[in-house]
């Protein structure tokens, strides 16, 4: 029987949660025994090759490309997991949510104290994805099955969750493991 496949994506995040995936250290070899990686920055597959058992999503949705990728994951994955606080709450990128988009762009490209932009242009190439009016947590865009909190979600809970799902065993997350403050 073919191994189940997992896919991962980083949307509006900092790749910190992907670092956490790598932080499972040598257990990544064990993981490779259990699964094949499909679309993921880890193997640099740009497109899905088929149906996946699990999709891990880092980051919330800040632009149309994020939405496109997330919906693609929902189409291809049986189980979708929001990993980390950006996926769950929007978090740091969502700090812009109370500021009008126009002001955000102007601050970033024109008015910010460290901006050097003699041409005074805001990038607007047609290849650039358009921003959403605000940053959305993933579960407001598609249905999410599970949530693994943390900034970043630590390696241990990612590992425990994957093993529990792949071996069909109940997941035990002791309080200490999900306590971050």
């Amino acid at each position: 029987m073919a191994k189940p496949k997992i896919a991962t994506a980083s949307l509006a995040g900092c790749f910190g949660c992907h670092m956490s995936i790598l932080d499972i250290d040598e257990r990544i070899l064990k993981l490779i025994e259990l699964v094949d990686f499909d679309k993921s920055p880890i193997n640099d597959f740009k497109e899905f090759t088929g149906r996946c058992a699990i999709g891990l999503i880092e980051g919330g949705c800040a632009n149309e490309d994020n939405v496109h990728v997330l919906r693609d994951f929902r189409k291809h994955c049986d189980i979708l997991i929001s990993v980390g606080d950006c996926a769950i709450n929007g978090d740091i990128p969502a700090l812009r949510n109370n500021i009008p988009l126009k002001e955000c762009l102007e601050e970033a490209y024109l008015n910010g104290p460290s901006v050097y932009n003699p041409e005074k242009t805001i990038p607007n190439d047609k290849e650039l994805p358009l921003c959403l009016d605000r940053v959305y947590p993933c579960h407001e865009v598609v249905k999410i099955d599970y949530f693994l909190p943390g900034c970043p979600a630590n390696a241990e809970i990612i590992w425990q969750a994957l093993v529990a799902l792949l071996t069909n065993k109940p997941l035990e997350l002791p309080y200490e493991m999900i306590k971050y403050d």
């Binding site: 149309e64 490309d65 939405v67 496109h68 919906r71 929902r74 189409k75 979708l80 009008p100 988009l101 126009k102 762009l105 607007n124 047609k126 994805p129 358009l130 921003c131 959403l132 009016d133 605000r134 959305y136 579960h139 407001e140 865009v141 598609v142 249905k143």
Partner: protein, 605 residues
């Protein structure tokens, strides 16, 4: 202007003894005088009472009846409770907007009239109703609104808008209000004939401990909703360390659908103050405070008069009725529009001149209450019961009602029934019997105990109203067969979202989420899994909230989910693609499309 502000504010502070614990009276005074508590006024107050400016602003920003921005000389507050909506609020609201030419939350350009919504003002049996400053207008219709606005425009004097007077003391010179008592059924305890001051005399003839024992023997439990045994509360307060003790009466009747205390305050003020005096004697207090909700300010003059008469008769003051060493008096503390202040620790905060934030318990008020002193906080009806217990004896009192719940209970009935009003029934009455009495045999649902209570359906009509089964602070709201119970639950969540004090996250955020999911379901975008989510979220809010508000606010959702499941199920359908139907990508992109002057190439239609 600045000078007059300066001298007026100073004067108001001085009249309150420049005492920061009298902050509620100070800011209410400034608001009344200037129609706002401006930034400058806050600075002046802080200087006068020697506190930080933020302490003033935190109070002003907390209460609905206070405002930093200027309001009109006349403030019209239209009650937008669920019952008012059922009674035809929409055309009334439209008429106000049309006649005044402004929207809700706005002031007319001449700065004279402000139009606002306000939650339940305790007039559910005569809805739709509104406050015009302190005056109450009931049974509103669009015609009546036109007359009212025309009338107001002539003289801008709220005192002159009352043309028809209500019954009983409502018609008295001091109240002068169109409110009706609507007493539909008089029971044996509160609304029957009683011998004034007999209870107080009997109490003063025995020791305070014996008074407490009498109340204990009567098995009196709090009438506000929580049902704590009154005798035990008093025993704790009496036993607590401290030389100064207080008895506080909670007349902040804000639970939507509750209006029985309004009628007691109108018709049984003497009985209430007698009960308070007995309480003061029992726990060893020299001061009683009646915390009166701002919506009932129209009753204040009457209550002050009753207090004065009692002082003249030596029923208040020093050595009351010749009892050497028993000195007791009562003051009235006005609220300023905050539901949370009905929660006893919030009420104490408010009396202390603070925001109405609940306090951490323990210590309980009985140990450390008002100003850190042992305090007993009792409901209006509870204190009336005390007067009757001391008059008639614990045995008489305990005999009435059901086994676990002695005596009678005032029920304020409103909604889809023929005979709304106040009913005094012995505890243990069946819901079905009550519905027959009020003319609502076809009720689809009944809300018992207000939105923080429970919404039940016909399967539960055989249950009884008492502490051991369906407990209530008095609210009974009837919903007829045509009402959408999911919508009703959503409207009650609007109320809790507005009234949450914001201190703890489960209540501040959780209630908003409950409302969002209900809206999603009402919008036809809900999924069956949303129902499970509502349940688990509601239960989390209940367990993790800091005070009674959040511990009960999910009840409209949880009880309708349980009792009207089919109504929810008919509105949800499973999503096939796993996308959230509430997320609208075109809407989310519109802003950037307009800024960038290009259209999305991914989401083209």
């Amino acid at each position: 202007m600045i000078e007059s502000l300066q001298s007026e504010v100073k004067q108001i502070c001085k009249s309150c003894g420049n005492d920061r614990t009298k902050m509620m009276d100070i800011v209410r005074g400034v608001q009344e005088k200037f129609g706002q508590v401006s930034s400058e006024a806050m600075n002046l107050i802080a200087k006068s009472v020697n506190c930080h400016r933020v302490e003033v602003e935190s109070v002003v920003s907390f209460y609905a009846f206070l405002s930093k921005k200027p309001k009109g000389k006349i403030v019209i507050r239209l009650c937008n409770d669920v019952i008012d909506k059922m009674a035809g609020l929409a055309p009334v609201a439209d008429a106000f907007k049309k006649e005044l030419g402004i929207d809700f939350g706005q002031t007319t350009p001449d700065g004279k009239i402000t139009l606002e919504y306000t939650p339940c003002i305790g007039m559910c049996d005569q809805a739709p109703a509104a406050l015009v400053n302190d005056e109450i207008i009931t049974y509103l219709s669009s015609d009546k609104v036109r007359e009212l606005v025309a009338d107001l425009r002539k003289h801008y004097n709220p005192d002159k808008i009352i043309h028809r007077l209500g019954d009983g003391n409502n018609a008295s010179e001091l109240v002068h209000s169109c409110v009706h008592n609507g007493i539909r059924k008089k029971g044996r305890v509160i609304f029957s004939e009683y011998k004034e001051e007999a209870g107080l005399k009997n109490a003063l003839a025995v020791s305070p401990v014996e008074v407490i024992n009498e109340v204990k023997n009567a098995r009196l439990r709090g009438r506000g909703g929580a049902g704590f045994p009154t005798g035990m509360k008093w025993q704790f307060t009496r036993a607590a360390e401290g030389t100064k003790k207080y008895i506080l009466c909670n007349a902040d009747e804000g639970e939507p659908g509750t209006f029985k205390d309004r009628v007691i305050l109108t018709e049984r003020a003497d009985m209430l103050f007698e009960g308070m005096t007995i309480g003061g004697y029992a726990i060893g207090a020299e001061t009683g405070i009646l915390y009166l909700r701002a919506e009932y300010a129209y009753l204040r003059k009457l209550l002050e008069k009753v207090l004065k008469e009692r002082r003249d008769k030596n029923l208040l003051g020093n050595n009351i009725l010749g009892k050497k060493g028993f000195n007791f008096d009562i003051t009235i503390q006005m609220g300023a529009g905050a539901y949370i202040c009905g929660e006893e620790t919030s009420l104490i905060s408010s009396c202390e001149g603070l925001r109405g934030d609940p306090k951490t318990r323990p210590p309980f008020p009985a140990q450390k209450g008002y100003m850190g002193n042992p305090s007993a906080v009792n409901n209006v009806e509870t204190l009336c019961c005390v007067a009757r217990i001391l008059e008639m004896g614990a045995g008489w009192f305990a005999e009435i009602g059901s086994k676990g719940s002695p005596s009678t209970k005032l029920l304020s009935v409103s909604g889809d029934c023929r005979l709304p009003g106040v009913y005094e029934f012995p505890f243990g009455i069946k819901v079905s019997d009550l519905l027959k009495e009020v003319g609502a045999e076809d009720a689809q649902a009944v809300l018992i105990g207000g939105p923080s209570g429970q919404i039940i359906g016909p399967n539960d009509y055989k249950r009884t109203i008492c502490y051991d089964d369906l407990a209530t602070g008095g609210a009974v709201v009837v919903f007829g067969p045509e009402r959408d119970m999911v919508k009703i639950a959503a409207e009650y969540m609007d109320f809790f979202v507005e009234e949450s004090c914001g201190y703890c996250t489960p209540c501040r955020v959780g209630n908003v989420l409950l409302k969002k999911y209900l809206d999603k379901i009402l919008d036809g975008k809900g999924e069956p899994t949303d129902l499970d989510f509502l349940k688990s979220l509601g239960e989390s809010i209940k367990i993790t909230s800091r005070c009674g508000l959040g511990q009960t606010s999910p009840n409209p959702v949880l009880t309708t989910l349980k009792n009207f499941r089919s109504s929810y199920e008919s509105k949800v359908k499973p999503a096939t693609d796993g996308f959230q139907p509430t997320f609208d990508i075109k809407k989310a992109l519109a802003e950037h499309e307009s800024i960038a002057k290009r259209k999305s190439v991914i989401y083209t239609e």
